[in-house]
C-alpha cells in the first residue's frame, strides 16, 4: 500500500475515534473540545491528501485555531468544565439513533464495493491559492458578497445577544 493511502486511513481512524470521544465524553467539556481539535486537524490532513492545500490550511486555522478556542472561551468563562447533564434516556432518541446507525452501517459496505471510477490525476495548480482565488473572484463573486454580508450580520447578532443590557 502506498504511503498516502496509509496516511489516509490513519487520519480517518483518528478523526472517527476523537469524534466518538467528543460525543461520548459525558464528564469533562474541556476534554470534549480538545477531542474536537484532534478531529479538525485530522480532517485537515485528509484535505492535504486530497490535494486541497489551501482549504486544509484554512481548516486548521479557522476550526482548530478560532472556533474551538471560542468554545473553550465560553466553557471557561461560564465555568462549565464539568458536564452535569447525563445523556437522554428517551426511547425516541434511542430508537432514532439505532435506526440511523443501522442505515449507515448497512450502506457503508455497499459504498465500499466500488461505484465510482479511479480518482484521476489532478491538473497543475489544483488546490492552490491561485486557482481558488480565480474561482472565488470570477464565478463566485456574488457568493463572496453574500457571505460577507452574513458575517457582518453574525457579528452584530452575536454582540447584541451576548450584551448584558441593550441601551
Amino acid at each position: 500500500m502506498e504511503i498516502s493511502a496509509v496516511l489516509f486511513y490513519v487520519f480517518a481512524g483518528l478523526a472517527v475515534i476523537s469524534a466518538l470521544a467528543m460525543v461520548l465524553n459525558v464528564r469533562n467539556t474541556v476534554a470534549a473540545a480538545m477531542s474536537l481539535v484532534v478531529t479538525m486537524v485530522s480532517i485537515g490532513g485528509i484535505f492535504v491528501l486530497l490535494d486541497a492545500y489551501l482549504v486544509a490550511a484554512l481548516q486548521i486555522m479557522v476550526y482548530g485555531g478560532a472556533i474551538v478556542v471560542l468554545f473553550l472561551f465560553v466553557v471557561m468563562l461560564l465555568n462549565l468544565r464539568t458536564d452535569d447533564f447525563p445523556p437522554v434516556g428517551l426511547r425516541l432518541a434511542k430508537l432514532g439513533g439505532g435506526l440511523l446507525v443501522v442505515v449507515v452501517v448497512s450502506a457503508i459496505p455497499r459504498l465500499l464495493g466500488g461505484v465510482f471510477p479511479e480518482i484521476p490525476a489532478a491538473p497543475t495548480g489544483y488546490g492552490g491559492y491561485r486557482a481558488l482565488g480565480i474561482a472565488l473572484y470570477t464565478d463566485y463573486v456574488l457568493l463572496v458578497e453574500m457571505v460577507s454580508l452574513l458575517l457582518l450580520a453574525a457579528i452584530v447578532g452575536a454582540l447584541i445577544l451576548a450584551k448584558r443590557k441593550i441601551d
Binding site: 469524534a19 467528543m22 478531529t39 486530497l50 481548516q59 471560542l70 458536564d83 481558488l132 474561482a135
Partner: protein, 106 residues
C-alpha cells in the same frame, strides 16, 4: 490514492457521530460542537468529490473547494451566534441544559 468510496464512508461516519451527539447530549455546548462535526463531514464529502472531478490541465475546477470555504464561513457565523445565545441563556437560567428551554417544543 484511496478510492473515493472510502472518503465518502468517512464522511458518512462522521456525520452519523454528529447526529448521534445532537440526539443524545443535553449540554448545549456539546450539541453545538456536534453540529460543527456534521458540517465538517459534509466538507470531507465536498473535497472528495471535487478531487474526483478536478478539471483539465490548465483549467482546474475548484467549485467544491469554494463551497467548502463558504461552509466554513457559515459555520463560524453559526458558532458566534450560537455561543451568544448560550451566554444569554446561562445568564437567565444559570444552566446550559436544553431540557430547560423547551417552550417552543411541540
Amino acid at each position: 490514492m484511496v478510492p473515493i468510496e472510502h472518503v465518502i464512508a468517512l464522511s458518512a461516519a462522521l456525520f452519523t457521530i454528529g447526529v448521534g451527539g445532537v440526539l443524545i447530549r443535553r449540554n448545549l455546548i456539546v450539541i453545538l460542537m456536534s453540529i460543527e462535526l456534521m458540517l465538517n463531514a459534509v466538507n470531507v464529502a465536498l473535497i472528495g468529490f471535487n478531487r474526483m472531478w478536478p478539471g483539465i490541465e490548465g483549467a482546474p475546477r475548484m467549485d467544491g473547494q469554494v463551497f467548502v470555504l463558504m461552509v466554513i464561513t457559515v459555520a463560524a457565523c453559526e458558532v458566534a451566534v450560537g455561543l451568544g445565545i448560550l451566554i444569554s441563556m446561562f445568564r437567565n437560567r444559570d444552566s446550559v441544559n436544553i431540557d430547560e428551554v423547551n417552550l417552543l417544543k411541540w
